[in-house]
Amino acid sequence: MREISYSEAIREAMCEEMRRDPTVFLMGEDVGVFGGVWGVSHDMLAEFGEERVRDTPISEIAIIGAGLGAAMMGMRPIAEIMFGDFLMCAGDQIVNQVAKARFMSGGKAQVPLTIRVTTGAPGSAAAQHSQSPESWFMNIPGLKIVVPATPADAKGLLKTAIRGEDPVIFLEHKMLYGEVGPVPEDENFVVPFGQANIIREGKDVTIVGVSIMVKKALQAADVLAKEGIEAEVIDVRTLVPLDRETLIRSVAKTNHVIIAHEAHKRAGPGAEIAAMLAEDAVEYLDGPIVRVAAKNVPLPYSPVLENYVLPNVNDIVEAAKSFWPGKA
């Protein structure tokens, strides 16, 4: 299969959907003339014109509010927020309007709004440009939370988001944009929400990865294999809806689970997954549920400190080995 980058896969998903459906359009800061601050929407202005690739003022609340209005009037907007850290500027629109419109209109309003946003630490971007805001919104019913970890999933999940009738927060990890992998060219290739992906099978420990931590989990699994520990790596793909069944089935097999995400550990996505497993799969657990996540401090600028705070491959390896302290 042809291989392209995560960034290209996202651009391809947007372009294909805009070609097939005239109600789909892109809006955001610098998405047009500049091609997006991460270059994701390069040359889209030339193909689709200013009506459909719209540069907006620097106001996140205006971008989301306009997106909501357009969505309720029958359009399918893709609203880009440059950094996940800035989502809070649009907090009221997202939390009180976008997420609630369907419910408070008695089901009359559809909100097919896709909010594309970058997440994660790109390296020395410091505390205001490095956060992983996934779990901030997991507590808001009405929003779907999508965390693609591979180029193919980025394309397939984004197309599902654009074609769906409900608001989606689509979190693109900055350090995955350059990641290259096989991506189907079929314009009807979609990846459904709520289906976790077992990327590597193993019998000893389940590692549930969120976004970039899936990649690190796979690297950790290679290291663990050399030590005789067979890890099963699962990419959650979507945090809301969460694929409980696949996770429980895996834990029932391995009896050990590590949840790895780049968001801060305290009340991060792993807290919800851990609680779900404690409620529904406790009899399968042969040890504690372990979370590998960023330490609970604002992300530092200093590379040394940042590396210390962020979770890495070795943290996952050590977490897995902690289940068998007797093993050397």
Binding site: N255, E283, Y284, D286, W324, P325
Partner: protein
């Protein structure tokens, strides 16, 4: 259960009208282990029924009576303490037994103590998986060395121990075992019944053709196959109504005329013989009795009999016809006055209308407590039962005429 300064006193509950004692089968918590209110604390066996008893409070369990003993009701058997510290000043079992204790469970919650980790010496650190497997296998995790994180016992540790136990059991198989549980209760009751009661047995072969026919007619009408036991129960109940002087019981305080006609049915269960009792049989219709027999028998088979369902019988019916037994001499189920043994219904040569004929016949054997009943009244009792079975229309006649 009562609260005192050292916690809640758990007593052996009185669960049936005539329950006086019960076998303490098993503790679900070890001494010193924590239990939450509402979790099963122990199981008891009384009158052939096994019951799970929940803890009335949350706290550490201090066991006063070890499992495997028969304990009179109201006897304190454990204390639920809010802390582990008071272990040294515990009253002895006999001291506790002197205290008056209340049966009413009081709804006062005991606050779970917030204590530092170090002061949890007897807390068993085990993974949920290990606990689950141990519970399934019925093996305690206490004493197993943990190899998991923070020293907790994990599934693998448990499997190793299970393996060792298995090989141990194979090398040390004992030639003798003591009676336990239901078997011990049955043995005790039969011994008492046999030793204390001079019993005599009367037998008669009867023509069951009309009974077979009546059953078929009811099936044609209702589609239901009524059990012969239901007919027999109704016949015995009718006889009791007509001959109330037989419905008596000898107790320690003297002779009692029973007001209700309650008849038990012997049921063979995987755990042993059980005798669920149908109450007020004389006030019930045949189909009602049949349905009730099915219900109580099912509960008995599943070991889920209700406490009152196994007590207070006047009389027992025991039927081995299904096993092809022609007749047998039963032993009275104390404190009842008698028991009716029912053999199979089979085609046998029988004199009918002065001619030798092949008829459906059945042999009934009535064993009775000869202290309370002479031979002639006992024979009259059996004779009337036989009449009602040979002419089952009579079972209904009193309701119409």
């Amino acid at each position: 259960m009562a609260e005192n300064k050292s916690g809640y006193t758990v007593v052996m509950p009185k669960l049936g009208l005539i329950m006086t004692e019960a076998l303490l089968v098993e503790w679900r918590r070890q001494d010193g282990e924590w239990i939450d209110k509402g979790e099963v604390l122990f199981t008891l066996e009384s009158d052939k029924s096994t019951l799970e008893i929940e803890s009335p409070a949350s706290g550490y369990v201090r066991i006063l009576v070890t499992a495997g003993k028969v304990v009179p009701v109201q006897t304190p058997i454990a204390i639920i303490e809010s802390t582990l510290e008071q272990t040294t000043s515990l009253p002895s079992v006999s001291e506790v037994a002197q205290q008056s204790v209340s049966l009413v469970s009081e709804q006062v919650a005991v606050e779970r103590h917030v204590v530092a980790k170090d002061s949890f010496p007897s807390f068993l650190a085990a993974s949920p998986r290990a606990r689950f497997l141990a519970r399934k296998a019925g093996i305690s995790l206490i004493g197993i060395a943990g190899s998991g994180p923070r020293g907790m016992i994990v599934a693998n540790d448990f499997s190793n121990v299970k393996q060792q136990w298995r090989s141990l059991r194979e090398t040390e198989s004992k030639p003798y075992a003591s009676l336990s549980g239901l078997r011990a209760i049955i043995a005790e009751r039969l011994t008492v019944g046999w030793r204390e009661r001079p019993q005599a047995t009367l037998s008669v072969e009867l023509d069951a053709s009309n009974l077979v026919s009546a059953r078929q007619q009811i099936e044609l009408e209702t589609g239901r196959k009524v059990s012969y036991n239901a007919f027999l129960m109704l016949a015995v109940a009718r006889t009791f109504v007509e001959q109330p002087h037989v419905n008596i019981r000898l107790t320690e305080k003297g002779l009692v005329q029973l007001q209700e006609i309650n008849i038990g049915l012997a049921v063979d269960t995987p755990r042993g013989l059980m005798v669920p009792v149908i109450k007020n049989v004389d006030k019930k219709e045949l189909l009602e009795i049949d349905q009730e027999i099915q219900q109580v028998a099912r509960r008995a088979l599943e070991g889920k009999s209700l406490p009152d369902e196994l007590t207070n019988g006047s009389f027992t019916i025991t039927n081995l016809g299904a096993y092809g037994v022609d007749s047998f001499a039963p032993i009275i189920n104390p404190p009842e006055i008698g028991i009716l043994a029912v053999g199979r219904i089979a085609q046998r040569p029988f004199v009918f209308n002065g001619q030798l004929a092949v008829r459906e016949t059945m042999i009934l054997s009535f064993a009775f407590d000869h202290r309370l009943l002479d031979g002639a009244p006992a024979a009259r009792f059996l004779q009337r039962v036989v009449q009602l079975i040979e002419r089952p229309i009579l079972l209904y006649s009193h309701r119409f005429i």
